[in-house]
Symmetry: C2
Subunit: 354 residues, 2 copies
């Protein structure tokens, strides 16, 4: 085996034409072309004030001419800056509609900025902390954006403890101290109850909001408080809740109906649960818009194109993503400024019945 090692070392393997190694121009290239020193070129391109205007112009001209683009690895090693914002997403139930729209809107928010978007997925069976820790430890992003926030999210406390910039889609118990965008799910729950009551509904079921995340807790609280207020019964269906647990959700609603409890109003906080509810209701012989009303959070266009009439409230996911992008950038570029925060409050529903 020793001899094998030796021969392996001596034979110059595939050193002929390594594809893709056409070298990119570097600062050194420009320095050679202009007769300047490398740091001078760097500072000229950076717009430093102690480089003469004429030199700056000359350097820029040469750089443009040869198509110079800074090597990110060099910048990153020297400055620690990656120019990357990482969006950390769970793929537990697949990347679904809402998440997909979030991706594109965050991308839109980063458009024409110095920042690039990196999607870091993690899987349901692994520690949600893992991708966050990886990003921090390898410094592979300047900031992270998190969603599916729990009230005392350990990722948030970790990021705060190491001083790493971030923004969240959802609030924690430390909500005053970090950037976030949140949707007022308490108001959503309240609005749902009010709208259904206004249509004469009295037996309302709130479908399966997650109780480990604040948004589900808020939705329940908002709906129940308003139910108390107006003297209507608001029941909470527990069980599977995410977009891709539609089957379980549908089964849970089926079971609820089968149990004989009265039902004439449904509140669904996700597209998946809305679809499950529509299906379930139809099977049970109830008719949307007539014997039962469905109040739904509208996020994807498909819901608009499905025939039965349902009440929808608009959630502005496009705004969400753009805001989170700005908030994350601000956390990087202006760490001393107060964190950017926004709470989207739903105020009215409309009948989607085209």
């Amino acid at each position: 085996m020793a001899t094998e090692d030796k021969t392996k070392k001596n034979i110059p393997s595939d050193s002929e034409t390594p594809l893709g190694t056409r070298k990119q121009p570097t600062l050194k290239t420009i320095a050679a072309l202009t007769g300047l020193a490398v740091p001078t070129v760097s500072r000229a391109l950076g717009g430093a004030s102690d480089i003469s205007v004429s030199t700056r112009a000359r350097v820029r001209a040469v750089a443009d001419e040869i198509g110079y683009v800074p090597n990110r690895a060099g910048v990153r090693l020297r400055t620690g800056r990656t120019n990357v914002i990482a969006l950390v997403l769970s793929t537990e139930h697949e990347v679904m509609n809402h998440t997909a729209k979030l991706i594109s809107s965050v991308a839109a928010g980063l458009r024409e900025t110095q920042f690039n978007l990196n999607i870091t997925p993690y899987f349901g069976d692994e520690d949600p902390m893992k991708p966050v820790r990886y990003i921090v430890e390898t410094r592979s992003a300047d900031a992270v954006i998190l969603n599916q926030i729990r009230p005392e999210d350990s990722r948030v406390s970790y990021l705060r403890s190491v001083g790493f910039p971030f923004a969240t889609h959802g609030r924690t118990i430390w909500e005053n101290e970090h950037p976030y965008y949140d949707y007022d799910n308490s108001a959503f729950g309240a609005l749902g109850v009010r709208e259904l009551i206004a249509r004469g509904r009295r037996n309302i079921l709130l479908v399966a909001p997650p109780t480990d995340q604040r948004y589900g807790q808020d939705m329940i609280a908002g709906a129940q408080a308003t139910g108390q207020e107006v003297g209507a019964k608001v029941r909470i269906l527990s069980g599977a809740t995410s977009d891709n647990a539609m089957q379980q959700t549908e089964a849970a609603i089926d079971a609820y109906i089968a149990s004989g409890k009265p039902l004439d109003g449904l509140i669904c906080g996700s597209n998946g649960s809305s679809i499950a509810a529509m299906s379930s209701v139809e099977k049970a012989g109830l008719i949307l818009g007539e014997t039962v009303d469905l109040f739904s959070k509208e996020a994807i266009p498909i819901l608009k194109r499905i025939r039965p009439s349902i009440l929808t409230v608009h959630e502005d996911v496009a705004q969400t993503g753009r805001f989170l992008a700005k908030a994350a950038m601000a956390a990087v570029l202006s760490p001393k400024e107060p964190p950017m925060q926004f709470l989207e409050v739903p105020t009215h529903a409309s009948l989607m019945d085209y």
Copy 2:
């Protein structure tokens, strides 16, 4: 400690730690702790054969102990390797269902490998070449994955000319020479016609496949050839086609029906067009499964949960993404091997009518 003069160079003492940001351990840290030289530590962790087993074990133990993670910028600068696979996606019509599933399945394919996923979005109004050129010029990924491939896609010819590793979702005219995963849309078109004919349908409309991309061209060719064969009329509806152009697609189908042309079978190659078709057909008073049949490509679960009975053919997007991930990695790690290629051929449809 004994060889103090030797180790005394410029080891940053623990007591310094000046700023608030706690520094990550580097090879230097391990070198100081073990009394070895930095390259020795590097080679020990890399498993080089000329480092003694005991040293390797000691170094690894210390590395694990202090939680050493290689700084990616350093590796990238030295080796040129980023350990990133970039998935380049258009957000023209938003990141939609099919795309979302592609993202999660590519992520799954990269799971537990050395590679990370980077989503690089581009916008409909900008040059599709731009993100690709950026990645190549800044060397910010080791390979790219492209979709929405045109037959003579300029991104593909560019990547080939610079020798940059890539894989495509769809084939080009150079299909023999690069890695790809493709769905046999010709077979899909043919199968659709055959299935509809088998149900007694004779007036078939193929809904709006894009004619500038190969997959649309193939679908048309497959459907028309089979139509010829069995002597049935297959018409092609031109117009908007992507998932998010549902409104236009629906309007085009409405117009087709209004024109009085006979129609008893529909073939839809995307989820969006299927939803549009269902809506359009219902408006026109046709009944799915009775007066008309819909043959659809099934990719998202929502289609399964919508009430009317439709014929669906399974497209394995999960496999697509995993394969593309492997193909891209292979292009990076084994450039000399023949490119990984796969053509998914649909063979049967099933009635989604639960």
